[in-house]
């Protein structure tokens, strides 16, 4: 049998259907009698709704129904809940404004949901929506992140004074102040981590139906976590019991965080399907995605690093303003707090850290987790700060990192910001990356580039992240309103093939292959005999879904536990069949043997016996061979590594060209190295995209989204990027049964500062000290033009 087990670069089981156009994405699903919905959205960032007149629209051809915010409110249904509650420094809970799926009185961002039009065709729904007359009284919006806290800023919510959602802190301020008082040098930096749009290639979509005969609702939706949607929508929004609500997440075309959240359209379609008793389909066009998918990042920060005379870090203090947008999206409050503040130790043994985060409301689209979620922001801040510190201390940029790394023998390592790292080897990942990227030869390459009139730079990032989200008790104590375990079921069929059910969801990650590989290794069968099922609340016992690089570390661990139960039971059956003591039965490569004898029976025979229990220990053991396990992790996992970017800038045009990108990551146990490399590649492209290309831009005066299409929002294209050198150097996670740490986010977390540090390295000879992201040709060119000769001479 070809090796299809753990560690093999197996080709993906899911690829055939995707490559032949046989995938089933939500918009591909059609139900009998289906209607189509169009959402009428606000064209204003902030306005009072004086009136909504749907009379004319209701007469338009093909219209089935139109519902407004007033209709929704009159029906007594709930608003979209927030899944995480943060408390401010003073102990008060965050301000949590209402979040109705259709608004009745005020619109608070462009794209806010005003009405839903349901018609026989997509075009008819859209045409009718144009006939709805909404009388808006425009108000001045609060848009810019830092400006939102200013005394004269327009107020987004009356209950959020000064637009403040919460004022949170973490760390012990006393030791930090003491360390700063005795520091030999303090490096200070101001940074903007710009807003991004996740832009999964499949726009969000939903198909809802209601069966009057059974009273059951079904929602097909583009989600990363169907059970979470069922819980939130069923319990908090529409009051439908889980037993009457089925959520299906079929093939989903990418998520990157943006499809975690419970969205208004999901609730509206399900609610309206009950009202009209016909199926309804809604599919966002890309313009709608830009103004209704939760966006990412958007921090404004000031940080200070205290060092002794040798560049040893003594203390760090950080102050951040984080933009929540107009409403609190499902997990928004935890992103700039427990996924950010807790990461500010990074890979460094900084003994004292204090961070303050003010979350603000603005009249912009909601902000929530986007690939990395908080951890890229922390990494960007640290790695920019460390580079600046090295320059000010006149130290080598790698030496200052090496000097401050948490040593490989210091694990478990308790940081001053709550986390306890279990394993890592930062010196080694740096050393390997340094060699692969030929850092030693860089100055010669820089000189050669200079001879061609080009500015060459090299940039480094040594990073860490916390993922494998998450220990339920820990996150519960930090404000999570849910547990974050995972489930797995293994159903061995009578003839020995296996169907495996996971509560995680694959939207590009290849779970149908990697999870099958774990089964293949454990039960000794080829992956062709193993099917992996995910994404349907009627099939899967329960699950928390896929985000935070958790699927393998948490869901894979649940699978290991379920497989343990299978082999334990199977051994008892095998012992009975071989008339042996169960303690003497061994199981390897799909065959049960009795130690010290030549007795053996294959797994398939045991499976058959479990379902045809003629000769069976029936008084001791139930028939059948199917087991379910839930796994709640003991700790987060801590992937980390080193990214090195080399690039050239054309000083005449400001165009930056990537020359080489090296990523050496520690992701723990690798199940499928091909898939792991692919995950890193994709993350790198998104991180590089943030550094050089992407930005969600709002007009500060009107709150209009200026980057609302692919014509304006610069997505990374094939010719913007280079080939990457990617490899892993792994230390095992010490607290889960696989040793896996997770890989989904490392590329996006480590890469962004490596690119910007390389840009600044290239521009250093001209005296350029800072550049904001994205470092577009325009900005680079401006930076070059405004660099003063005096600075360059320093």
């Amino acid at each position: 049998m070809a090796d299809t087990g753990i560690g093999a670069a197996v080709q993906r089981k899911e690829d055939f259907r995707f490559l032949t156009g046989r995938g089933t994405y939500t918009d591909d699903i059609n139900r009998h009698g289906q209607t189509y919905a169009y959402i009428l959205r606000s064209p204003h960032a902030s306005a009072k709704i004086r009136s909504v007149d749907t009379a004319k629209a209701k007469q338009a051809p093909g219209v089935v129904a139109i519902f407004t915010g007033a209709d929704y409110a009159a029906d007594g249904k709930g608003g979209l809940p927030c899944g995480w509650q943060i408390h401010s420094k003073d102990g008060s809970p965050m301000v949590e404004p209402p979040h109705p799926p259709l608004v009745a009185d005020f619109v608070r961002h462009i794209g806010d949901h005003v009405a839903i039009v349901i018609a026989e065709t997509r075009a008819q729904a859209r045409d009718a929506a144009e006939l709805i007359a909404v009388d808006y009284e425009e108000l001045k919006p609060a848009v810019d992140t830092a400006d939102a806290l200013k005394p004269d800023a327009p107020q987004v919510w009356p209950q959020a004074k000064g637009n403040l959602c919460y004022d949170w802190h973490l760390g012990d301020k006393g030791p930090v102040d003491a360390a700063f008082a005795k520091a030999a040098h303090v490096t200070k930096i101001d940074l903007v981590n710009q807003r991004l749009v996740a832009n999964a290639m499949e726009p969000r979509a939903a198909v809802a139906e209601f069966d009057r005969a059974t009273g059951e609702y079904t929602l097909f939706t583009t989600t990363q976590n169907p059970h979470v949607i069922r819980l939130l929508m069923g319990a908090f929004v529409l009051q439908i019991p889980e037993s009457k609500l089925r959520i299906v997440a079929p093939d989903v075309g990418g998520g990157f965080g943006s499809k975690i959240f419970h969205y208004a359209e999901e609730a509206l379609l399900t609610w309206a399907a009950g009202k009209i008793a016909r199926p309804i389909k809604w599919t966002a066009d890309r313009s709608e995605s830009f103004m209704s998918d939760a966006q990412g990042r958007d921090h404004v920060s000031h940080a200070e690093l205290a060092m002794d005379k040798d560049g040893k870090f003594l203390a760090l203090k950080v102050s951040t303003i984080a933009n929540m947008g107009a409403y609190l999206s499902t997990f928004a409050p935890c992103v700039p707090t427990y996924l950010y503040g807790t990461l500010l130790a990074g890979v460094y043994a900084t003994p004292a850290i204090y961070v303050e985060v003010k979350a603000v409301f603005t009249n912009t689209v909601a902000v929530d987790a986007y690939r990395g979620a908080g951890r890229p922001e922390a990494t960007f801040l640290l790695e920019r700060l460390v580079d600046k510190a090295a320059r000010e201390m006149k130290m080598d940029r790698l030496d200052i990192r090496r000097k401050n790394f948490i040593p490989a023998d210091a694990f478990p390592y308790q940081t001053p910001v709550a986390l306890q790292y279990d394993s890592g080897d930062y010196q080694s990942t740096l050393a390997i990356a340094e060699k692969k990227a030929d850092v030693a030869g860089f100055e010669a390459r820089r000189a050669e580039a200079k001879s061609r009139g080009m500015l060459r730079g090299i940039g480094f990032s040594t990073y860490l992240e916390a993922c494998g989200i998450a220990p339920s008790a820990v996150v519960g104590s930090l404000g999570a309103r849910a547990g974050l375990y995972e489930s797995a079921s293994v159903r061995v069929h009578p003839t020995g093939s296996v169907t495996m059910f996971t509560g995680t969801h694959s939207h590009g990650q290849g779970h149908e292959t990697t999870f099958a590989q774990i089964v293949s290794s454990t039960l000794g069968m080829p992956i062709e005999n193993i099917e992996v099922v995910h994404g349907d609340t009627n099939k899967i016992p329960f699950g928390m879904g896929t985000y935070g690089s958790r699927s393998l570390a948490v869901g894979g661990s649940a699978l290991v536990k379920a497989l343990d139960k299978i082999t334990t039971k199977a051994k008892r059956i095998a012992a009975h069949l071989m008339e042996a003591n169960v303690a003497d039965v061994e199981f390897k490569d799909g065959v049960f043997t009795v130690a010290g004898t030549d007795k053996s029976i294959p797994f398939g025979q045991v499976a058959l016996t479990a379902y045809v229990p003629h000769n069976y220990p029936i008084t001791e053991l139930e028939p059948g061979l199917e087991e379910t396990a839930f796994y709640d992790p003991l700790n987060f996992t801590y992937p980390g590594g080193c990214h090195i970017c080399e690039l050239e800038i054309d000083p005449e045009t400001g165009v930056t060209k990537l020359i080489n990108f090296t990523a050496v990551d520690d992701v723990g146990r690798v199940i499928n190295p091909m898939i792991v490399e692919g995950q890193v590649h994709g993350g790198l492209a998104q991180g590089i995209g943030q550094a050089l290309l992407e930005s969600a831009v709002y007009d500060n005066a009107t709150g209009q989204l200026l980057s609302g299409s692919y014509m304006d929002y610069c997505m990374p294209r094939a010719d913007d990027l280079c080939s990457f050198h990617v490899e892993t150097h792994n230390t095992m996670c010490t607290h889960n049964p696989l040793g896996s740490k997770g890989v989904g986010e490392v590329g996006a977390i480590g890469s962004t500062p490596a690119v910007i540090n390389a840009v600044l390295d290239a521009l250093l000879p001209l005296g350029v000290q800072d550049i904001t992201m994205p470092a577009s040709p325009h900005k680079v060119w401006q930076a070059i033009q405004s660099a003063t000769p005096a600075k360059a001479a320093e």
Partner: protein, 155 residues
């Protein structure tokens, strides 16, 4: 409503469409060929690429009536049932897809490139794919797959 007639994946098809109906809407909604995807509304992403008379075309940028009389090939028609075209096989071999949403357009575009240039360089592939956006792969493995697929198509 205007009627249209064309050959799609080797089969003659007809239909009545609105004047504003896009070719991609006709393919997906009337013919049920849902392998061709829609990822944007500005002709940027290329998820909808099909072949019209042998050339790659963004089917969101063509009205169905403009394809009247044309021979259209979609991802479903690239290889007979149960088989993979060499370009599809190369994408699987080189892990040139993750979520699969951009994949049909990416493959159809790559086949057109390979028919024009049997041995494209990395740079040629990257420039050719400028009109196809992928958010998952960082293009690294797509580029490898297209080069390998082009070589396989030649042999």
């Amino acid at each position: 409503m205007p009627s249209v007639a064309m050959t799609v994946n080797g089969k003659a098809v007809t239909g009545n469409v609105e004047g504003r109906t896009l070719l991609v809407q006709f393919l997906r909604e009337q013919l049920g060929l849902t392998g061709t995807h829609v990822g944007c509304d500005t002709s940027q992403c290329g998820a909808c690429v099909v072949h019209v008379d042998g050339k790659s075309v963004k089917s969101c940028t063509l009205l169905a009536v403009q394809a009247n009389g044309a021979a259209v090939t979609t991802i479903e028609g690239l290889a007979p049932n149960g088989a993979l075209h060499p370009m599809q096989a190369a994408f699987r071999e080189h892990h040139g897809l993750q979520c699969g949403f951009c994949t049909p357009g990416m493959v159809m575009s790559a086949v057109d490139l390979a028919s024009r240039n049997g041995d494209p360089s990395e740079q040629e592939v990257r420039e050719w794919l400028e009109g196809n956006i992928c958010r998952c792969t960082g293009y690294h493995n797509i580029v490898k797959a297209v080069q390998a697929g082009a070589r396989a198509m030649r042999s």
